[in-house]
């Protein structure tokens, strides 16, 4: 099955129907393993048991960026390759990405509360994620604001790509802004210096959440394709109404109005 084959929505729906149950099962199994392992993971000598929040915070934070990446590729698909499923993929990903980003923020602030004493600190990482969240919401608002999906797709694709270029700049600016005001970062999680007992559960959770995203994304894409079919059928119905007058008992004569399709 190549990318060209997938261009046909009907074939895509068939593939989705076949793949979804397996994906869902794999997600559940991996999540179970990940949760079990993170439950067994030892406490951090500095942070105590709160380090367990990391096992869901980090995968969500990873997904918040990964989903934007997926949307960026889909946007390229819309603008450059004109792949018919690209804007379906981009649209379906936005609310899911926003949800993961929201979870990253929420767990981040719950993790921060014991560390900082407040729920929110204008910490460089959290702030960047907050901006990312706002951009997700803006993108969703854009999708909602335009009724015609193919017209909205162009605008959303441009915005997504501009966002993808801008995100590193925003991240850099926020880092700079943050260090300007707070020389010492409040929380340091050494990235690669992480102990193996944390790293393995974290990796499993990250993979499980990524699989969760893929599952949800495919299902949401399927919904989106069906939604567009409903829409085009309704358009056809609207243009067909005039003909129904023909068979009506009022005998007003045939109408050949076709309607704006």
């Amino acid at each position: 099955m190549t990318l060209i084959d997938l261009a046909n929505p009907t074939r895509f729906l068939a593939l989705t129907a076949r793949v979804l149950p397996w994906l869902a099962a794999a997600t559940v199994i991996l999540l179970a393993i990940g949760l079990y392992q993170s439950a067994l993971a030892p406490d951090d000598y500095q942070q105590g048991a709160t380090v367990k929040i990391m096992f869901i915070h980090v995968p969500n934070a990873w997904l918040s960026m990964f989903v934007w990446g997926v949307m960026s590729i889909a946007s390229l698909g819309t603008l450059v390759w004109r792949h018919p499923l690209a804007d379906v993929a981009a649209k379906a990903a936005a609310p899911i990405g926003a949800s993961f980003t929201f979870l990253a923020l929420l767990t981040g602030s719950l993790w921060g509360r014991p560390m900082w004493g407040t729920y929110w600190e204008w910490d460089a990482r959290l702030t960047s994620v907050l901006i990312l969240f706002l951009m997700y919401l803006g993108l969703m608002a854009l999708w909602r604001a335009v009724d015609d999906p193919s017209r909205a797709a162009r605008a959303a694709a441009v915005l997504t790509l501009v966002g993808a270029i801008n995100l590193p700049i925003i991240k850099f600016s926020v880092d700079w802004w943050n260090t300007l005001h707070q020389p010492a970062s409040v929380m340091r999680m050494g990235g690669s210096a992480l102990d193996k007992s944390f790293l393995i559960p974290l990796l499993v959770m990250a993979i499980a959440f990524t699989l969760l995203f893929v599952t949800l994304h495919l299902a949401a894409m399927r919904n989106e394709i069906l939604r567009r079919r409903v829409r085009s059928l309704q358009m056809m119905q609207a243009s067909r109404i005039a003909f129904s007058g023909e068979s009506g008992s009022r005998g007003e004569g045939a109408s050949n109005e076709v309607g704006a399709a």
């Binding site: 602030s109 407040t118 729920y119 929110w120 600190e121 204008w122 702030t127 907050l130 901006i131 706002l134 919401l137 803006g138 608002a141 909602r144 604001a145 335009v146 009724d147 926020v174 802004w177 943050n178 300007l180 005001h181 707070q182």
Partner: protein, 222 residues
């Protein structure tokens, strides 16, 4: 009464459907408030002192900037003609439209306030005070903003002109709204005095707004 409730229900429905802008106001509010710390700095003590002011400014801008389409859309598709001709007094119809707008766009701002209070390091009491003053004050913003929205139809210009016309009118609301919230947080004034003035301002605008808007719509139709 059926006429007015039908109008309110229609406007809310349109605001919530695809293409409607009810939630964009909240998003704008969120964005404006998030921008502030980047200008002020991430100092939590400072932010919590400025918090009520930031929230009020954000809510003010969000509720006024979403208003400029209040009558414009109805004017463009001819609905406004029919509303003017109908047996429902235009003043009441204007009030109903403003109420619908407040329900669809104003209330979500108040619901979003606690989350933003968290970002600005406001404690529970301060957040509650801001939310309460917004609840009392945003109707005043909507109903005075409505006058600007009506003028925008008359003058065939929306956007910035409307903001320039209406923002000065909303200064009293801003003064007493922020004063009442600050009174809870730092004192030394009591909460009651500015809050009752705020409520009075809202009540006055509930009366004046529909009449002014209806008058300007009547003279502006052609």
């Amino acid at each position: 009464m059926t006429a007015l409730s039908a109008l309110i229900r229609r406007d809310i429905r349109i605001a919530l459907r695809v293409g409607g802008g009810a939630l964009i106001g909240v998003l704008f509010f969120l964005t404006v408030v998030v921008l502030m710390p980047f200008a002020v700095g991430p100092d939590l003590a400072l932010l919590s002192r400025l918090g009520p002011a930031i929230l009020w400014l954000g809510a003010l801008l969000a509720s006024l900037l979403t208003l400029d389409r209040l009558f414009m859309a109805d004017h463009e598709d001819g609905s406004l003609d029919l509303i003017t001709m109908s047996r429902t007094p235009l003043e009441l119809a204007c009030a109903a439209k403003a109420l619908a707008h407040w329900l669809a766009a104003g209330l979500p701002l108040i619901v979003a306030t606690p989350v933003l209070g968290l970002l600005l390091n406001l404690d529970m009491v301060a957040t509650g005070a801001v939310a309460l003053t917004l609840l009392a004050g945003t109707p005043a913003l909507t109903f005075t903003g409505m006058i600007g929205a009506a003028l925008a139809v008359t003058l065939h210009r929306g956007g910035l002109l409307m903001a320039v016309l209406v923002l000065p009118l909303s200064i009293p609301v801003l003064i007493f709204g922020v004063a009442a919230s600050q009174a809870v947080i730092v004192g030394p004034m009591t909460f009651g005095a500015p809050f009752s003035i705020l409520c009075a301002l809202s009540l006055v605008s509930l009366v004046v707004g529909p009449f002014a808007a209806a008058a300007s719509l009547r003279h502006g139709l052609d």
